[in-house]
Amino acid sequence: MITLRNIEKFYEAGYGRTYVLRRITAEIKEGEFVTVMGPSGAGKSTLLGILGMLDGAWTGEFEFLGQAVHRMKPKERAELNKRYIGFVFQSYHLIDSLTVYENLDIPLSYRNVKSSERAALVCDTLDRFHIVGKRDLYPSQLSGGQQQLVAVARAVIANPKLILADEPTGNLHSSQGKEIMELFKKLNGEGTTIVQVTHSEANAAYGSRVIQLADGWIVGPEAR
């Protein structure tokens, strides 16, 4: 699904460059549950942002579903993101001025789904995630776990092939975190590819493979 070759990201700083990612080469197959781990500043979130087409300032080769992302214009990358990718953030990043229903509706409206279809999809998702009763509440009226649940629901509502999760349980209690990870496991079992960034070994255990990052390099068995 994903092929990375010599992906690098740096910032010009003073007389030199500060590298965030160095010669990242990796492959992720469809249906995998991959965990990216490493200490703070290793470049995990940056890598996830590149995979999610949220960051276009990098060098190297990136193929997604056989398409050369490195040769695409930003608009084309955004289209790929819309069609295939869902993102879950550590800080949930729900839109505070929208209800739960509207937060779920937002990704569909950006994908030009007809309003009747959108209503059906949102209702199905609310039902699937057992949050029908919360549909008219605002994020500030939900607990952290509930907010993250809504965030996951929002990430999957457009039926993405790939879910990217950046420390999805970082702001949750352990029991809430376990709930979210079980959900990811279930989604992965249904065929969705999942790439998560986490510090937690317990969370990493849900995945099938770990990519270790340190100082922008892939280290350990995955290193090439």
């Binding site: 979130s45 949220l54 960051d55 990358r77 993102f87 990043h93 001025s97 937002i106 950006y110």
Partner: protein, 811 residues
């Protein structure tokens, strides 16, 4: 369409969730749009709308001027008017107007309550020249405009409605004007005026070309139309030449006199042009300040919503989609501000038209102008769109992740955003300083006007005017005895301390002028005689008006007879002009050019100068004689009262009507009112500019508060770190307030520099204060500086109260 509805719904909800932001932005826009539309509607009606005449750009107003004197609009001698008409090749037609007053004492159905009317005697050709048709009847025929012609009158639309019930059959009916039965030939259109506003009746001028004495009287305003293809410069040059020709032909009349040519537009509007343009400029600055305020609010809010917009982009929103959403929200805000501004503008225009001074021509015709409103609304929409959509430019793919990642951690706001916001605040402060200084200068000028020494004691003085023409006291022989009786009656009224009369009340206009020379002295070079003001007064007038006697004596009863030797009193300006070496003018003799011939009089006294026309105008050399010596028809009575002057209004009118039931009493008011009326224009300008300055002040304070408050919110983490590292609370206070002070200082500096350059445009509007008055500049700078510090202090207090632990966990 669904997206638009979605964005509209969301936009309205968002505005409701942030009432402080919404109310501030809407209020700022409403004030900016409303004030701008109102003032420009007034400017349009007063200055820009073409005069309601045929080809108004081809019309001229012509007066005469004395070379070497400042006054450019002296009345024209009727002989000169006739000569211009005969000899001019550049003017298609000329007409003449003599300003006067006349008593209306009877209508078609008989006697009516007498009323003095502002009137004009005009040549019959005036109305065809202007291209004006009456709404009822016809204008004057040439045979009516000859000596001995049938007495005729044209009524103003307002008089026709008010006194004659809008009778559609009024044409052909008779009214009593000046004791004479006049045939009403017609009614002129609503609001008709040539140069003087408020005229209610027109009668034929009936000039006699053979009247040599009448030809020398300077009593006319001339209106002319340029011939086709002729420019005003050519007409000016021709009339200048004609003036020189007439000077050679009759040096006694025309020595040093020349025609003074203006476009009619300039003549009608010239005096109010500068103040209105200053007001228009000020209100434009106000709109800019309001837009800067709103821009800042939108930018701050946009920055606060970076995270939300990045999330939307991460969810798949294109830049265009986000921009559309922000555009919708900005439009909602601008339209809400526009709606409130519309209400404000309509109210303000109506208020200005109703309360504004009568000296502003066509002010009553000011109407809310939709074009101007749309322009102001467009400006605010443009501001909203530009600054409301700025965040959309930031929500692009390259830095989304950075925004999303940073939003999960603490951090400080972007530098570029801060620079733009700070720049806007500096601009707001600079513009506010400009408006404040303009307002401050006008206020000081107005205070100077209020406190100016007018030359008389205005408090406790009741005044009224009468025109002794047409009634039983029309003849010169009857006037003086009638007025003596009247003064006696008025003196005996309880509460009246002194009663006097004059032919020209202070601040009521220049009135009669007279050419004179000092006996035995050579005239100044280029002059045969000096022109000054002539006042006929009763012996007690100076005491009644509180005009100080500087030297010599006042008039006595012995002076106040037609047989007495001509005794004269002069004012200090005249005395200083001719007796510069400190010599006394007492017992000196003046040779005066009266209409009926030359007379010589002896100076028996010198009194203080009195403002004849406007408070800010220069003093005129003035000659006083007793009323019996010059019993002119138009007089004013001044009563020094013991108690409130207006308490005597009814008894005064009764006293007049006891002696003559047909005698109209006009302008019965206190001298305080007369003074207030004379500075009504300046008051109007000062109040308006004061309102704009207050609004600018408030917007500025809100702008500074908003920026500093926002920055404190963004820097909570930084403040927490500083406190955790050992910074004292007072250090935090200095940090935050220092930022406000820095912005304010920069803005004030720029504003002062701009004010220094621009306030010279106000030179003609100021009295007793210079355009770069240091006190005003310093005072306003200090005031705004203090407000800026106060606006920064409030959020600074909040910053001081930050708990470091909470702040370091702040997201």
């Amino acid at each position: 369409m669904h997206s638009l509805l979605q964005d509209l719904r969301h936009g309205v909800r968002l505005l409701g969730k942030t009432p402080g932001f919404s109310a501030t932005a809407v209020a700022a826009l409403a004030l900016g749009i409303g004030a701008t539309t109102a003032i420009f509607s007034v400017v349009d009606a007063v200055l820009l709308k073409p005069l309601p005449f045929r080809d108004p750009d081809r019309l001229l107003a012509v007066w005469e001027k004395k070379l070497g004197q400042k006054q450019q609009k002296m009345f024209v001698a009727s002989g000169n008017f006739l000569e211009w008409g005969r000899q001019s090749r550049t003017l298609e037609a000329l007409a003449a107007i003599q300003e006067t007053h006349v008593n209306l004492t009877g209508g078609p159905n008989g006697h009516i309550d007498p009323q003095e009317l502002k009137a004009e005697r005009v040549t019959a050709g005036l109305f065809p020249l202007l291209g004006v048709r009456p709404v009822v009847g016809r204008t004057f025929l040439p045979e009516e405009d000859r000596p001995g012609g049938a007495p005729s009158a044209l009524l103003s639309y307002e008089l026709w409605q008010r006194r004659f019930g809008g009778d559609p059959a009024i044409a052909g009916k008779a009214v009593m004007l000046g004791g004479q039965s006049c045939n009403v030939t017609g009614v002129l259109p609503p609001g008709f005026a040539v140069v003087e506003p408020g005229v209610e009746v027109w009668t034929p001028l009936a000039l006699s070309p053979g009247d040599a004495r009448g030809a020398r009287r300077r009593i006319l305003t001339v209106v002319a139309r340029l011939k086709h293809g002729v420019e005003i410069g050519q007409a000016r040059a021709e009339l200048e030449t004609l003036g020189a020709t007439l000077e050679r032909a009759d040096p006694d009349l025309n020595q040093g006199w020349r025609p003074s040519v203006f476009t009619l537009n300039e003549a009608v509007r010239g005096q109010v042009r500068q103040p209105l343009l200053i007001l228009a400029g000020a209100v434009s600055l106000l709109l800019l300040i309001a837009c800067a305020n709103v821009a800042n609010l939108l930018l701050a809010r946009g920055t606060a919503r970076r995270k939300e917009l990045a999330v939307r982009a991460a969810m798949g929103a294109s830049r265009g989609r986000i921009a559309g959403q922000l555009l919708t929200e900005s439009c909602i805000l601008s339209l809400a501000g526009g709606a409130a501004g519309l209400v404000l503008a309509r109210g303000a225009v109506s208020l200005a038209a109703w309360l504004g001074p009568q000296s502003i021509p066509h002010l009553g015709e000011a109407r809310f102008d939709a074009r101007l409103f749309l322009f102001a609304l467009a400006a605010s929409l443009a501001t909203g769109m530009l600054f409301g959509m700025a965040p959309a430019l930031q929500a692009s793919g390259a830095n989304l992740n950075a925004v999303l990642v940073e939003a999960g951690r603490s951090g400080t706001s972007g530098r570029t955003g801060s620079l733009v916001r700070n720049g806007l605040v500096v601009a707001e402060v600079a513009l506010a300083v400009l408006v404040l200084i303009g307002s401050g200068l006008l206020m000081r000028s107005f205070v100077n006007l209020r406190l100016a020494d007018l030359g008389f004691q205005k408090s406790g003085l009741l005044t009224f005017r009468m025109r002794l023409a047409g009634g039983r006291n029309t003849s010169a022989e009857r006037r003086a005895p009638f007025l003596k009786d009247l003064l006696e009656q008025l003196r005996n009224l309880p509460g009246v301390r002194v009663a006097g009369l004059t032919s020209g009340l202070p601040l009521n206009g220049l009135g009669s002028g007279i050419a004179f020379a000092v006996e035995g002295r050579q005239a100044p070079p280029g002059e045969t005689k000096t022109t000054g003001l002539l006042r006929s007064v009763s012996p007690e007038y100076f005491r009644a008006a509180g005009i100080p006697l500087i030297a010599g004596r006042e008039f006595s009863d012995a002076d106040d007879t037609s047989q007495a030797r001509l005794a004269l009193i002069v004012n200090q300006t005249l005395a200083r002009r001719f007796w510069t070496d400190g010599a006394s003018p007492l017992s000196r003799r003046l040779v005066l050019d009266f209409t009926e011939g030359t007379k010589t009089g002896e100076i028996v006294g010198v009194v203080g100068d009195v403002k004849p026309d406007r408070v800010e105008a220069a003093d005129w050399p003035t000659v006083y004689c007793t009323y019996a010596q010059q019993p002119i028809a138009a007089v004013a009575v001044a009563l020094r009262t013991a108690g409130p002057p207006m308490a005597l209004a009814a008894p005064v009118e009764r006293a007049v009507h006891q002696l003559d039931p047909d005698q109209a009493v006009a302008d019965l008011r206190t001298m305080d009112d007369v003074v207030d009326q004379s500075i009504a224009g300046q008051r109007f300008d000062t109040v308006l500019l004061g309102i704009f300055a207050t609004i600018a002040f408030a917007l500025c304070a809100v702008g500074i508060y908003g920026v500093i408050s926002y920055d404190v919110g963004q820097r909570t983490n930084e403040i927490g770190i500083r406190l955790a590292l050992g910074a004292g609370r007072s250090g935090i206070l200095r940090l935050v307030v220092g930022e406000a002070a820095g912005l304010a200082a920069l803005g004030i500096g720029l504003g002062l520099a701009a004010a220094f350059a621009l306030t010279r445009l106000m030179a003609g509007m100021l009295y007793g204060v210079r355009t770069n008055d240091a006190y005003t500049f310093a005072g306003m700078a200090l005031l705004l500086g203090m407000v800026a510090l106060a606006a920064g202090y409030v959020p600074a207090r909040r910053a001081m109260a930050v708990d470091p632990l909470t702040a370091l966990r702040h997201e």
